[in-house]
Symmetry: C2
C-alpha cells in the first residue's frame, strides 16, 4: 500500500501543480495563444523530469510542440506509451463562465476551469501516477509519454511526428485518459470512438450585400439558400440524406444491440441536465445508440449578413457554416468529406455559388475488449471503483487514436475518468476532485496488472 | 434661366458642402454614433439658414433630433413639405470598401461614400434647390423641411413627433427624394413602396454549448433546427408558407399587370450587375413584379455557434436570425408580424424553445398618379431628362411615408434620382454627379409646375 500512502501524502501538492498547469491558456484554435502553447509544453517537460523521467524533451513539429518523456526500466519489459494533450478548447461564450476559465478554483468537490477535465486534469493523473511509482520504486515496466498540443484542432502535426519517430515510440499499448465514464457508480471504459469529418461551406449570391427591399423576392438570398441546403441534409427521421453516406456503416447484430442498450441510462436525468423537453435523433435508435454507433451531422457554427444590434435591411452577399459529421466503423472520413462536397454542390441552385472545404477529419476507432491491456484496465477500474466497468461506445472523436494504429501499429486503451457533467468544450468546464485522485490510484494499479 | 445659371455658377460649392455633410458618420443603428447624429442635425440647421430659411431648428425627439426649417412666402399659397433623412446605414463589411466610407471622393463621374445617395446626397439637392429659388427670388410657394435621423432604423420617434407638430407641418404635399429611377435614359417616379415587418428569432436548445461528439445525433441542435424552420418559410415555388400571409395582398388586374411589365427591363444587365447566373423568386411573376407588387421574405442576418477561425466541435446552445418581410397593399405589418410569430412558434419542435421579437415595421404606400403634385413631378422630370417618367413600383420601404398619410393626412410624391448601381446599404455606395445636379434642376422646375 505504499503507493496509495504516497498519493495521500502528496495529494495537496498534486492539486497545486495541476492548478499551475490549468492557468496556462493553451488554446490551440487561436493563433494569439501560440506563446502559451510553448510555455505549456515547457512546463510539462520540467514537471515530468521532476516526476522522475530519465529524459524529457519539447520536440518541435510543424505546429505546436510535442512533449516526449521516458523511463526505460528494462528493454526486455513491456512498454506503456501514455498519450494526452495539453491544448484546450476556446472559452467563448466567455460571458457564460461563472469563474475565470484560466483561474481554477475548487468548489462543491469539483475543479472549475478550462481543461480541468479535457485533457489537462486527466493527463496530469498519469504524470502523478508515474511519479508515485518511481518514488515508491514500484514501476513494473517501461513508460513513455507523448503529450501533444493540437488535439482540439485535429492533431494536424502529430501524424507526421509519429511517423518520423516511430522507433522511439515503440510500445505494447497506448494508454489514454481523454474520455468519460457513465458515472461514479457505473464505471466504464470507452472501447469505441466516432470519427469526424469537419467541413466549412460558403454560399455566395450577389457580388455585394443588396438592399433587401429593392431586390428582395427577385434575387436568391444566400442565407435563405444556406438554410435550405443545410435543412435538407437531415430528413424528418433524422437520417442523413447525402447519397452513399451510410454505405460503410457497420450495423450491430441484434445481440450486440441488446448488450449495448443494457447499459443503465436515465433519460429524465439526461434531459434535466441539458434543460431540454425532448431528445431528438435518428428514428429507430436509442439515445445511447445514436451517439455510440450511429453517425450524426451537426452545424457547429453558422453566420451571414447583419448580426449586430438593431436592424439592417440587406440581402447578404454570402452566408457560411461549419458542419461536422461524426462517423462510425467503417466510414472513412476522406470519402465522407468527398460525398458531402459532391452532394452539397449538387443541391445548390444555379442562383448561387458554393465553396466547400474539409477543415479536419479522423477515423472511428474500436478497442478489442479481449486484449491484455484492456483486461488490465478493467481490473484496475474494478478494484478502485468497486464494480466491473462496462465497455462503452462514446460519441466523441479522438482522430489521432486511429492514426496511432495506422502509423505506429499500436492499439490504444481509453481509460478515462470524466463524467457527463464535466461540460468539456462548454463554459464552466469542471472535473471531480475525487475523479482526479481515483484516476491516479487506478492508473497505478493498471501498471501492476498490465506488467504481470 | 437665371435659376439654372445660379446652379451652374455655384455647383462646386454645392458639392463641397455635400462632402462636409457626408463626412459626418451619422449611423443611426449604432449607439456609439449618437454624438454624430446631433452634430449632423446642427450642420443641416445652419446650412438651411444660410440657404435662406426664415427659421431652422434642431427639434428633440425621443431619439435622434429632427431638423425643421421653413420659408413662408404667403400663407395663401400652397406649401411643399420636404422630407429627407440624415442618418445612414452601418458600413460593415468594412473591408470591402475601396475608399473610406466617410471620406467622400469623386471618381468616374460618381460621388463615393456612405450616404452619397441614401439619403444625404438626395436631401441636399432639396436644400440647394431651395437656396437657388430664394437667391434668384423665384420661390413660388411656401416650403417646409423635415429632416429626420432615424429612417434607417424605422423612424421610431418621428411618428410621435409628427403627431405633436401636426399644425406646424401643414402642407399640400410631401416631396421626397429617397428612391431611384430605372435609368438616366428611362426616368421614373416611384409611386409604390413596399411595407416591412422585421423580426428577430432565437432558437434555444440545451442550456449550454455541448460537445458535438458526446451529444451529436441525440440532442436537437438549435442551428440545425433554425435552418429547418427558416427553410420551411418559403416553399419551392417561392411562396411564403405562413398561414394567412397572402390574405390581404391586392392582386393586379390583367391590364395593370400588362402595364406594369411593359416597363423596360434588361435581365442580362441585371444579372451581370449582381454577378449572378440566375434570378430566383415567386413562380408566375416577373422580376419587376416580384419586387414591385409581391411580398418577400429575407434572412438579413443569421448567427450561432462557433464562427471564428478553425474548428470547434460543439452543438451551440442557441442560434438566431434577423428575418424581414416586404409587404404590399393591403398587408398590415402588425398583423403579419403576429402571423409570423404564431407560425414560427407552431412549427418549432418540442426539443427547442423559441423567442420571436418584432424589431420594426411599416405599411406599404401608393401615390395616386392623378394628383397634381405627381403631375408636376412628371413634367419637371420630363423637362430635365427628356422623357416622360414611368410610374414605378419600388421594392423598397420607407415606412414613415404611409405614416405621414395616416398622421398628417398628406400624400407624398417620391421623386428620387438614385440608380440601381448606387449600392445603397452596401459597401461602396455612390451617387452620380450628374444625378445630383440634374436633381437640383428638376426640383426647381417641380416648384414652378406645382405652384402654377
Amino acid at each position: 500500500m505504499k503507493q496509495q500512502e504516497y498519493i495521500a501524502q502528496n495529494s495537496d501538492r498534486f492539486m497545486e501543480e495541476l492548478f499551475d498547469l490549468l492557468r496556462i491558456p493553451s488554446i490551440s484554435a487561436q493563433s494569439a495563444h501560440k506563446p502559451d502553447m510553448v510555455r505549456c509544453a515547457e512546463w510539462l517537460r520540467e514537471s515530468l523530469l521532476k516526476a522522475g523521467a530519465q529524459k524529457a524533451e519539447v520536440m518541435p513539429t510543424e505546429g505546436n510542440p510535442v512533449v516526449y518523456a521516458e523511463y526505460i526500466l528494462d528493454p526486455a519489459k513491456p512498454t506503456v506509451l501514455v498519450y494526452g494533450h495539453y491544448d484546450v478548447m476556446p472559452v467563448d461564450p466567455r460571458e457564460e463562465w461563472r469563474t475565470e476559465p484560466f483561474e481554477p478554483v475548487i468548489k462543491d468537490g469539483r475543479i472549475w476551469g478550462r481543461g480541468a477535465d479535457d485533457d489537462k486534469g486527466q493527463l496530469y493523473m498519469h504524470a502523478k501516477a508515474f511519479e508515485t511509482m518511481v518514488a515508491t520504486q514500484t514501476l513494473p515496466c517501461n513508460v513513455k509519454f507523448m503529450l501533444e498540443g493540437e488535439e482540439e484542432i485535429g492533431s494536424p502535426s502529430l501524424y507526421k511526428w509519429c511517423a518520423d519517430n516511430k522507433e522511439m515510440l515503440a510500445a505494447d499499448v497506448i494508454l489514454v485518459s481523454d474520455t468519460s465514464m457513465l458515472g461514479m457508480d457505473t464505471p466504464s471504459i470507452t472501447c469505441g470512438l466516432r470519427g469526424l469529418a469537419y467541413m466549412q461551406v460558403e454560399v455566395q449570391g450577389p457580388n455585394k450585400d443588396l438592399h433587401s427591399g429593392l431586390f428582395g423576392g427577385a434575387v436568391a438570398n444566400p442565407a435563405n439558400v444556406l438554410t435550405k441546403l443545410i435543412a435538407s441534409l437531415v430528413d424528418e427521421n433524422g437520417h442523413i440524406t447525402i447519397p452513399g453516406f451510410y454505405d460503410d456503416v457497420r450495423l450491430l447484430t441484434p445481440e450486440e444491440r441488446e448488450a449495448f442498450n443494457s447499459a443503465p441510462f436515465d433519460m429524465e436525468r439526461y434531459k434535466k441536465n441539458l434543460d431540454i423537453a425532448e431528445v431528438e435523433g435518428e428514428a429507430g435508435f436509442s439515445t445511447m445508440e445514436r451517439t455510440g454507433v450511429r453517425p450524426s451531422l451537426d452545424v457547429n457554427g453558422i453566420w451571414g449578413g447583419y448580426i449586430e444590434e438593431g436592424t439592417k435591411t440587406i440581402i447578404p452577399a454570402k452566408a457560411s457554416a461549419k458542419i461536422s459529421m461524426r462517423l462510425v466503423p467503417n466510414q472513412d472520413y476522406v470519402k465522407i468529406g468527398e460525398l458531402f462536397e459532391k452532394h452539397f454542390r449538387a443541391i445548390a441552385p444555379a442562383s448561387v455559388k458554393v465553396k466547400v472545404e474539409a477543415l479536419h477529419g479522423g477515423a472511428p476507432y474500436v478497442t478489442p475488449t479481449d486484449m491484455p491491456a484492456y483486461r488490465a484496465a478493467e481490473k484496475a477500474v474494478e478494484e478502485v471503483f468497486g464494480k466491473k466497468p462496462l465497455p462503452f461506445y462514446s460519441g466523441g472523436s479522438i482522430p489521432i487514436i486511429s492514426g496511432f494504429e495506422r502509423i505506429l501499429g499500436i492499439k490504444s486503451v481509453l481509460m478515462g475518468f470524466g463524467l457527463d457533467i464535466d461540460a468539456i468544450h462548454s463554459p464552466n468546464e469542471s472535473y471531480g476532485v475525487e475523479n482526479f485522485y481515483k484516476g491516479i490510484q487506478t492508473i497505478v494499479k493498471f501498471y501492476d496488472y498490465f506488467a504481470k
